[in-house]
């Protein structure tokens, strides 16, 4: 992955972010260890100092354990104060039913947990890692954030994902080239119940594929007894070759899927939203 060049516009946005943070004085960052929230937490730590930042990581079955562990390591490396809370969204029947606005219920649970923590610590504002690109996407979780007064400084100053990656690389953040990592429930079609077992099955299948050396964007979409694997388009032809196809199939079957299919178009962010007709193809 090649980051975009950091131009004057990007510098201006980063300066605006620092100003935004100084004006608030202290922030609690809803932290996932992903590209956006890591950059935000590290900049907040730099601008506001250690005593005025708290990153809070939500842990649940919908977040791969490895991702949570990496998030902890990154926070330690950059001296960002971190607190870990268990979030029980999978136990919420409104979330588990997996409606189109599932993310709304997940984020409602998350921000309901985090807002009192901010209050108890005397922190001025709760922020998330929503960036300027996210604003134009279908994101019901954003509604929950707005309802609870959560602010989105990266989006407010207009920083895009590409710019955040470039600025992260400049800061030597390991996350700069990390693929986007939405929660595991995003692999389960709407209307199919989200259960701990299904989330675990997806997590094991994706881990098995990573163990084969597959890099970049990767998703195992859950279709009952079948797993539909999405890889970066440039990798597809190679993984369709018989020996590789056999390895890929065995890896995914080891997670409990009977049938394995490789998507011929490859990875698409929000692929199930397209499949369900929630957004246009």
């Amino acid at each position: 992955m090649n980051p975009v060049a950091i131009d004057a516009s990007t510098r201006h946005k980063e300066a605006a972010l620092a100003t935004w943070l100084r004006e608030r004085g202290s922030v609690l960052v809803g932290y996932s260890g992903g590209v956006d929230s890591t950059y935000l937490a590290v900049v907040a730590r730099e601008v506001l100092g250690r005593d005025n930042v708290l990153a809070v990581l939500g842990r649940s079955a919908s977040v791969p354990a490895e991702q949570s562990q990496n998030a902890i390591v990154v926070a330690e490396r950059h001296d960002v104060p971190l607190r870990i809370v268990g979030t029980g969204e999978v136990e919420d029947p409104r979330y588990a039913a997996n409606p189109v606005n599932r993310c709304y219920f997940c984020k409602s649970v998350l921000w309901t947990e985090l807002t009192p923590i901010a209050r108890d610590h005397g922190i001025a504002v709760v922020v998330d890692g929503t960036n300027a690109d996210d604003v134009s996407e279908y994101r019901p979780g954003a509604k929950a954030a707005r309802e609870q007064g959560v602010e989105s400084p990266l989006a407010d100053v207009g920083l895009t994902k590409a710019e955040i990656r470039a600025l992260s690389r400049e800061r030597d953040l390991a996350t700069w080239s990390q693929p986007s990592a939405p929660c595991l429930a995003s692999r389960i079609p709407y209307g199919t119940a989200v259960t701990v077992e299904r989330l675990g099955q997806v997590e094991r299948a994706e881990a098995a594929l990573r163990a084969l050396g597959i890099e970049g964007d990767l998703r195992v979409r859950h279709h009952g007894e079948m797993a539909r694997v999405e890889l970066e388009a440039a990798l597809i032809d190679s993984w369709l070759e018989p020996a590789n196809a056999q390895r890929l199939t065995q890896a995914v079957r080891s997670a409990g899927y009977k049938r394995v299919a490789l998507d011929l178009r490859g990875f698409r962010s929000g692929s199930l939203n397209v499949l369900e007709g929630v957004v246009a193809a």
Partner: protein, 67 residues
């Protein structure tokens, strides 16, 4: 035979098509598609109204080499 199956066959791509709403699952006992066949399959699937097309790998019950 589904319309997509028929169009794929005309394009020289022999397979069964399992339809799950807007998802087309291609099931073939033969070798995987070449790069050009893959792109053609995507194109034909889209023309038939599918948003997604995938190929089942090593389908259970498929003929094994030497069978």
């Amino acid at each position: 035979m589904t319309p997509l199956e028929s169009r794929l066959r005309d394009a020289g791509i022999a397979c069964r098509v399992e339809v799950r709403e807007r998802l087309a699952i291609l099931v073939s006992d033969g070798a995987g598609p070449t790069h050009d066949e893959r792109l053609r399959a995507i194109q034909l699937a889209r023309a038939e109204g599918f948003s997604h097309v995938c190929l089942e790998l090593e389908p259970l019950g498929a003929a094994l080499p030497g069978d």
